[in-house]
């Protein structure tokens, strides 16, 4: 705090948010917060561990790249989060939490009073307690009932009905009738029932909202934002930082090695290689020269280049794919969730039942007061407490279990759809394979070579040296001590080891044609070429086998050429379609759909985006492109493919538990409703039945805690 206290006195500080996906432990939190505070210009830094974000208060003159470097200095990679607008979904969860707290508070206090009424308070005491209950219940119903009243009103205005309509009618009629009873010194008031009903229902809603929030936080932290802007060369020769939204055609951007492009353009100076994996899913870098077209979102690997902008913002190739995705995703919004499907039958049934019992007792000559009391008891008893908890309770438990296993589920409907798939289509690069080059012949290097390799590769951020570094660090190799390390962009890393020249550089023609490779040169040793290949994910074959056991047939849809898909297809014994454009993948899914299949699409690249959006359900690895993760229903982490089968198994078990919950909830109604219609239900029985059935449903849902194993 000390470093920042002198700054806080200064006038307006700016606030910027960054996604830092690598935050994993308490040590990371303190390292980032302390490291940032020690830097000039930063007043305050706060890590949000749940959302994997860092929020920084800093002097307004600090730019985005400066802040990203500041975080990098603490040892973490950060991506700026551009939109700072208040999040409507998070606000909704907060509102629900407050409403739940209020109803919970009111429920406890009213119950306290009700217990004395049930145990035989009479006369003035009973009236006093009823009046007190009314005073607590009225404001509570008005405040906590709002989410239901609003949703019911919206449905009625469109001449539809949903689960909230019987709830709203039940709550308001019961409250008014209980008030009437209280005025007339009546024996039964249902304030406790009303408030308890609200509490249980709000718990269900809140669980649902929390689940969506948690997954969304996790996914947005993983998202690799396309560049938020670029250094633009001004007419006076100076460079200024320009926001991506302010870029327009004709501007000249200077793109340093390791930066992503913020707009489409043509290279006008410099030569480098670009990582196009975001667009094509292909891991091999492509060499670009003056006059070549480059696209927004791609990564400059080797050397700085100057790019003249040809299209920015909504005109870029990326934006086109995003539009294609949006169209493809419209089908998904037509899916009706299980709970809503149940409500469609349930709501009219409840209304009819309550109305019928009112009419029945009127005809039987019971008088309107008693008939209304019985109708209200029917409404309260049938109000879907347990039904409202049946689905969200099961889904939140399984989402929590899956999250611990590294699988993020975006919302409940994703689980429901995932349980129904009967056909799986996999992308190749980055999905069945890891999507990044990995050294395959490091075993042939001598220990000295390994030590030097590690030291050299640590000096560069080129993807190939990072791959070497990861592999050697995993083997616990100790790095050699080098002097005078220098990196020449586009050619390699050079240094001295024991007074001899060593280098890790781009190989000459003879080795280069064999695919990705880099060469270690040391005096006194023959040059050692490190070859790279894209490896299959661990457990890929086993996962495909397990999918088959689940009755799901798998196949490959790839944008790559047949020659590079064939080895993977052979190893996994899958059929493959190759050289497919995003539109072709869409068509392939549409064909299966019209044949009556429910397709699970598993992919990662931006080119898979539309297909992911079109699939009945979709999954993407956490290494996937921004677009891929956004389009997918489920995102899984790690290098293994096993989460695909795990998620499907968990989703199917969830559906099983949800069905059991429905049976439990409806079964309770079958017993309780005849009692209510018969006029035997007192507030005591209503309260006991309601909480009992809700607890059973929640307890049943908790059995899913081990579903991700």
């Amino acid at each position: 705090m000390n470093a920042g206290s002198s700054l806080t006195a200064a006038a307006a500080l700016s606030r910027s948010d960054f996604a830092v996906p690598a935050i994993r432990c308490a040590g990371c939190i303190s390292k980032i917060e302390r490291g940032l505070l020690a830097q000039a210009g930063i007043a305050h830094a706060r890590v949000n561990f749940t959302a994997k974000r860092v929020s920084i208060s800093h002097l307004p003159e600090m730019t985005m790249p400066q802040l990203v470097t500041a975080i990098a200095d603490t040892g973490f990679e950060a991506q700026p989060i551009t939109e700072m607008a208040a999040d409507p979904a998070a606000a909704e969860a907060h509102a629900l939490l407050k409403a739940m707290a209020v109803s919970g508070f009111a429920m406890m206090n009213i119950m306290l009073l009700s217990v004395s009424v049930w145990s035989g308070a009479s006369g003035v005491t009973r009236d006093l307690f009823h009046w007190l209950s009314a005073m607590i219940a009225l404001p509570t119903v008005i405040y906590s009932g709002q989410p239901f009243f609003r949703s019911a009103w919206n449905a009625l205005r469109r001449r539809r009905t949903n689960m909230d309509v019987p709830i709203s009618i039940g709550v308001s009629i019961t409250t008014m009738l209980s008030l009437y009873e209280t005025f007339n010194h009546g024996q039964h008031a249902y304030f406790d029932g009303v408030v308890m009903l609200l509490f249980f229902l709000l718990t269900g809603r809140w669980l649902d909202a929390v689940m969506r929030d948690r997954a969304r936080d996790g996914v947005s932290a993983l998202l690799k934002q396309t560049a938020p802007g670029a250094m633009v060369l001004g007419t006076d020769g100076k460079t200024v930082w320009v926001d991506a939204s302010a870029l327009h055609p004709g501007m000249e951007m200077i793109v340093a090695a390791g930066e992503r492009l913020a707009a489409d353009g043509i290279v006008i100076a410099g030569k480098s290689s670009f990582d196009l994996s975001l667009l094509t899913g292909e891991s091999a870098a492509q060499v670009v020269d003056i006059g070549d077209v480059v696209h927004a979102g791609t990564l400059n690997n080797d050397a700085p280049v100057t790019v003249r902008v040809t299209a920015a913002g909504p005109d870029t190739a990326i934006a086109d794919i995003a539009r294609l995705m949006e169209q493809a995703g419209q089908g998904k919004s037509l899916y009706v969730r299980v709970a809503d499907r149940a409500a469609r039958f349930y709501a009219p049934a409840v209304h009819t039942l309550a109305l019928a019992s009112f009419a029945g007792w009127m005809i039987a000559g019971a008088g309107w007061h008693e008939s209304l009391l019985i109708a209200v008891a029917v409404l309260i008893i049938t109000c879907p407490c347990a039904l409202g908890l049946a689905v969200p309770a099961a889904q939140i438990v399984v989402a929590g279990a899956l999250m611990r296993a590294g699988i993020l589920v975006k919302d409940g409907s994703a689980l429901e759809r995932l349980a129904e798939v009967d056909l799986a289509m996999f992308d190749k690069t980055g999905t069945l394979t890891r999507g990044r080059p990995e050294p395959i012949n490091l075993d042939e290097a001598s220990p000295v070579q390994k030590a030097v390799l590690l030291a050299l590769s640590r000096a560069s951020r080129h993807p190939l040296s990072e791959a070497i570094r990861r592999a050697l660090e995993a083997e616990n190799v100790v790095a050699a001590k080098l002097d005078g390390v220098r990196e020449t962009a586009g050619s390699g890393v050079y240094a001295q080891f024991d007074g001899k020249e060593v280098s890790l550089e781009r190989p000459d023609g003879s080795v280069a044609y064999e695919g990705l490779a880099t060469e270690l040169r040391m005096e006194g040793y023959a040059p050692f070429a490190v070859h790279f290949a894209d490896q299959l994910r661990t457990g890929a074959a086993d996962t495909i086998l397990q999918m088959a056991k689940l009755g799901i047939h798998s196949s490959i849809l790839s944008g790559d050429r047949a020659i590079s898909v064939a080895p993977v297809a052979r190893t996994l014994a899958l059929t493959a379609q190759t050289s497919m454009l995003p539109q072709d993948k869409l068509d392939a899914i549409a064909r299966q759909k019209s044949a009556g299949h429910k397709v699970l699409m598993v992919g990662d690249g931006l080119n898979d985006g539309p297909a992911l959006a079109a699939g009945y359900a979709s999954m993407a690895p956490a290494s996937a492109s921004d677009a891929g993760q956004q389009a997918a229903d489920v995102v899984f982490m790690g290098d293994s493919l096993a989460p695909v089968a795990t998620a499907i198994r968990a989703a199917r078990r969830t559906q099983q538990i949800v069905r059991q919950n429905f049976v439990l909830a409806i079964g309770y109604n079958v017993i309780a409703v005849p009692l209510a219609i018969g006029g035997y239900v007192t507030p005591l029985i209503a309260a006991a039945a309601m909480s009992g059935s809700s607890l059973i449903v929640v307890a049943n849902a908790l059995r899913l805690r081990s579903a991700a194993r």
């Binding site: 432990c25 308490a26 939190i29 303190s30 302390r34 505070l37 020690a38 890590v47 949000n48 561990f49 749940t50 959302a51 907060h94 939490l97 407050k98 707290a101 209020v102 508070f105 406890m108 206090n109 306290l112 006093l128 007190l132 607590i136």
Partner: protein
């Protein structure tokens, strides 16, 4: 009855106090980072930064 006249308002008041405290904690963002809060107790504040 006189006991009740005192005890009921006291019970309600204490409950309301708790509710107000809960509202305040939601508003001041204490529920925004539940996992982080669990980890922060492990950070040693006494240790001199550098």
């Amino acid at each position: 009855m006189t006991g009740l006249a005192l005890l009921i308002p006291v019970a309600l008041g204490l409950g309301l106090l708790g509710l107000a405290g809960f509202f305040w904690s939601v508003k001041s963002g204490q529920f925004d980072d539940a996992d982080g809060a669990a980890l922060r107790i492990l950070i040693d504040d006494e240790e001199d930064g550098l």
